[in-house]
């Protein structure tokens, strides 16, 4: 098929690249408005307390400063994407250190920052819950008293009979895994400006906003405005990775309140420290797995109990953990499954959507487990996955039969194995894994200072290892969300065209991808397409740009719009050229051909214009219906899936505990690739984030307070940290998506940590159960977090 495409599948330079390399691209903080004021947040220094009173008398001498707080809210006081539990300004309680009680507004931002100390609060501190395992204790204080429980959500999944399955198993093993709190670390901190719309009583919002329509809804709720009076425009977005949703909605609402109150544009921009303290993160998980299997390698039963720390607010927890329950067993066909996933409230920083969206955590657990099973029955990691991996027609844990697309799990696995000579190298490395390191207590915790006769041979210090991980991933939102997307395409009389989709550019290259899709259908070059700025005033709500749904959902809507217009052109040409069938019409290279004649696309457009042809269309794509039985956790959860396999090759330094990633080979089936350059970029970026998750990243808290609040302490990968990354695409066919184009952004990230953990085991002979695998974990088998000394590793 690929030969038939003009542009799809090639490498295309991003539309926004020119603006970005010249510094002209306008990010949220680059906007300035005449008369603009600033808003600065006031926070407290507690993590859990009742608010008795707030005293502003210290500000009496500063009439130029306006205070915005709960009393300025005419609509909803609490908001949320799923559950409305997060106050725009706190008024009853403080539940986490990021909480804001009021905002000071004025012209001098630095003066406002100093004045925050003048706001006094009378607080009554409450007992803290920072350990998610204690959140559901009968005597636990409720974080949100009106909810009468600290449980955010509980998803069960039941398939077959696990007890029977364990009974029929020769081997049964149980393991516990944990993963840390992760900061998105988008390079651009949050910023937004709200501008009152003169004479219309509305407000316009421009900011680093991931989902403009969600922001619009939340702001309208808070202001008690109709949706149409809030117009949200997305500035160039400096990275989001799922992180510029809930918090941006709330900051936008605060800015809007101030703009309405002062009748001036109000900008709010966060420092990195504020961004870290108030923004949500990726959920830490505690995962208990029990698995039964026989000598033939077939897994008979899996029992999974997962606890997610949702932190102080529900945010996207209900969606994130739902993906977890669907995918917790991994891409394996298992007869008997019993899964429980719970998310709970604590006083920790709240957690929500982040690239991966509930999958990187269970993949780390389940792929570590698969390697253990392989070791017990004496087959290779490759073999065990081949035995249990899903094939066409397989039934997933939620009872969904996989069909209507290429079920390419084994193909990506085989390709990765071949590319890296995996099985052989795995055997080799495990043979030479340092047994001294493994067995000698001297290196394990109690003083690793070597005696004279214990000097290690230099050659023994660096050990090589190789590991792999596979996944299946449901595309888009699945049965939990409303899944539809819109696109608007308007062709002009000179042959150029406006395009916009309801899904928003998050920096990943969506505008370019969509332009390619529209250009492909019309046979024109993507440069002729002008992508409009994301504005809720001109395009329909298409749900959030999360869950790697932009290509499959938005791409389909764009294709639909372009096809509608193409069809109109074809019909016009039938009469114009007096031909019977449109089968001979070919839209290619900015022309339309019919046998020996042709017309340029721009001439065609000017002709159409003169004939009054409607050259604008709204395309729509609604995901096929999926359903979910809440009680049993059964159903066709997602309408289609993608598959991936990553192999990690590492060097472990046994003296320092340092792990270096020599190479990652990433084999993915994302469906049809639209822009090869963009796709590769997604792999490089995702793998690097995944390696950070494996080896360095992790936010720690003390009494709910974040310890690492800027990039001097938050370690994200730098240019020197990762070796080679190789991306290989196996483009499976699918009946969904534009020509079968599905998703890639998240699969690239979710596998890497698990593959690295397996490679580290292969190198050192030791298995680790907690991320990140930093030197202290490798060397001491425990973390050095002072409040958490018990976190041993080797169970």
């Amino acid at each position: 098929m690929s030969g038939d495409f003009n542009i799809v599948g090639r490498s295309v330079v991003r539309q926004d690249a020119y603006a970005k390399v010249t510094g002209q691209a306008k990010f949220a903080d680059d906007y300035k408005f005449p008369g603009m004021l600033f808003g600065v947040m006031v926070r407290t220094d507690v993590s859990h307390a009742l608010i008795h009173s707030i005293d502003y008398s210290g500000l009496l001498d500063y009439p130029e400063v306006t205070v915005c707080d709960i009393n300025d809210i005419r609509g909803s006081r609490k908001v949320g994407v799923v559950t409305a539990d997060q106050p725009v300004f706190c008024y009853e309680k403080i539940v986490t250190p990021g909480d804001v009680i009021c905002m000071l507004v004025g012209a001098d931002e630095s003066q406002l920052k100093l004045l925050t100390a003048k706001v006094k609060t009378e607080l009554e501190e409450l007992p803290l819950i920072t350990d998610p395992e204690k959140a559901l204790d009968p005597d636990a204080t409720f974080i949100h008293p009106d909810k009468k429980s600290n449980l955010i959500v509980h998803y069960p999944l039941r398939k077959g009979d696990v007890e029977k399955g364990f009974h029929e198993s020769k081997h049964v093993i149980e393991q516990k895994y944990t993963t840390p709190l992760i900061e998105h670390a988008y390079l651009e901190p949050e910023a937004v400006t709200a501008v009152p719309i003169e004479g219309r009583g509305g407000v316009r919002i421009i900011g680093s906003i991931q989902n403009p329509h969600t922001t619009r809804r939340i702001v309208a709720e808070v202001l008690n405005f109709p949706l149409t009076k809030v117009r949200v425009v997305q500035a160039e977005l400096g990275g989001a990775f799922g992180g510029k949703d809930d918090l941006m909605n709330i900051i936008s609402a605060r800015a809007a309140i101030a703009a309405i109150k002062t009748r001036r544009p109000v900008k709010v921009r966060y420092t990195r420290e504020e961004s870290v303290v108030e923004s949500y993160k990726r959920h830490p998980y505690i995962m208990k797995y029990k698995v039964g299997f026989n000598d033939d390698g077939i897994i008979k039963a899996m029992k999974i109990d997962i606890l997610a720390d949702g932190g102080a607010y529900a945010s996207m927890s209900p969606f994130v953990t739902w993906r977890t329950v669907v995918q917790a067993t991994g891409p394996y066909e298992i007869e008997n499954v019993h899964t429980d996933v719970r998310a709970v409230y604590t006083n920790n920083p709240y957690t929500g959507a982040m690239r991966g969206f509930g999958s990187p955590q269970p993949i780390f657990a389940q792929e570590s487990l698969m390697d253990e099973i392989a070791e017990i029955i004496g087959v290779s990691p490759y073999e065990i996955r081949k035995i249990n991996g899903v094939k066409p027609g397989s039934i997933t844990a939620s009872g969904h039969k996989l069909r209507d697309h290429d079920v390419n799990l084994l193909s990506v696995l085989e390709r990765a194995e071949r590319e890296t000579n995996f099985t052989e190298r795995h055997k080799e490395c495990s043979r030479s894994a340092n047994t001294k390191f493994q067995t000698s207590q001297k290196f394990r915790g109690s003083g690793f200072i070597l005696k004279k006769d214990e000097m290690l041979d230099n050659r023994d210090i660096i050990k090589k290892g190789i590991g792999l991980a596979v996944s299946l991933r449901g595309c888009s939102l699945g049965a939990e969300g409303i899944d539809a997307a819109a696109a608007y395409l308007s062709v002009q009389k000179d042959g150029s065209a406006y395009l916009i989709s309801g899904l928003a550019e998050n920096g990943q290259g969506l505008r370019t991808t969509f332009s390619i899709i529209a250009a492909e259908v019309l046979g024109i070059s993507p440069e002729h397409i002008y992508y409009l700025e994301q504005d809720t005033g001109i395009i329909a709500d298409s749900g959030p740009t999360v869950a790697s749904r932009s290509t499959i959902m938005g791409g389909s809507a764009v294709k639909n719009a372009a096809e509608i217009i193409k069809k109109r052109f074809e019909e016009m040409l039938l009469t114009y050229w007096n031909i019977k069938s449109k089968d001979q019409l070919l839209f290619k290279n900015n022309r339309v051909y019919e046998q020996s004649r042709s017309i340029s696309f721009s001439e065609l457009c000017s002709l159409a214009y003169s004939k009054g042809l409607n050259m604008s269309a709204i395309g729509w794509f609604k995901g096929p219906s999926v359903h979910w039985d809440e009680e049993k956790g059964q159903g066709a959860a997602y309408f289609t899936y993608v598959y991936g396999c990553q192999v990690a090759e590492v060097s472990a330094n046994l003296l320092t505990g340092e792990i270096f990633v020599d190479r990652i080979v990433a084999v993915h089936d994302p469906g049809k690739i639209i822009n090869l350059m963009g796709a590769k970029g997604q792999v490089f970026g995702g793998v690097t984030q995944g390696a950070g998750y494996a080896l360095w990243e992790g936010i720690t808290t003390y009494n709910g307070n974040i310890r690492e609040n800027n990039f001097d302490q938050i370690l994200i990968p730098t240019s020197k940290d990762i070796g080679e990354i190789e991306s290989i695409f196996l483009e499976g066919e699918d009946i969904y998506g534009a020509w079968g184009a599905k998703s890639l952004g998240e699969p690239t990230l979710e596998l890497t940590a698990a593959a690295i953990a397996n490679a580290v085991k292969n190198a050192t002979g030791l298995r680790y159960f907690n991320l990140p695998l930093n030197p202290e974990e490798i060397l001491l088998s425990r973390k050095l977090s002072p409040n958490d000394l018990s976190r041993g590793s080797t169970n």
Partner: protein, 150 residues
């Protein structure tokens, strides 16, 4: 205490009356409206604010304007000359080194300073030169590629 500071910015001589304690980053963004230079951390860790001063890549969030008297400063806005992009800008576009673009100006300025001193850097030298420029989107591979073959 306002003082006049004389500088050359992107080839133009300018005199600015300003508090000498103002950060260079703020002078660029707020006074001169050169918003291509970005602020990501304010503590010299992310490199988004990198500009080139007298041939060296510098974090403009760590420099106050009082230190810049008489310097020659190049920002991202100064690379395109007579409508012609700098070769680094071109190769960043062509190699796919840009995703969200927030790190891009700083990244290009670090690379620009490197190439001023070392026109044919090795991969390791490139990694070293941009080690102070964080990028969360690209995984650096295409950036390194772009700097290698501008």
């Amino acid at each position: 205490m306002i003082r006049r500071i004389n500088l050359t910015i992107n080839g133009d001589k300018v005199g600015i009356d300003v508090q000498p304690s103002m950060r260079l980053l703020d002078v660029l963004r707020e006074i001169l409206n050169l918003t291509g230079t970005k602020e990501g951390c304010s503590i010299g860790e992310c490199g988004a604010c990198t500009v080139v001063i007298n041939g060296n890549a510098v974090n403009s969030c760590l420099i106050v304007i009082g230190q810049c008297e008489g310097s020659e400063i190049t920002t991202i806005e100064g690379l395109e000359k007579n409508g012609e992009l700098n070769k680094l800008q071109k190769s960043f576009m062509e190699k796919g080194a840009v995703q969200c673009g927030f790190c891009t100006p700083g990244m290009i300025m670090s690379a620009y300073a490197l190439l001023l001193k070392n026109p044919n850097p090795t991969e390791v030298e490139i990694q070293e030169a941009i080690a102070g420029n964080l990028c969360r989107c690209t995984g650096y591979k295409q950036i390194i590629e772009a700097i290698k073959s501008p």
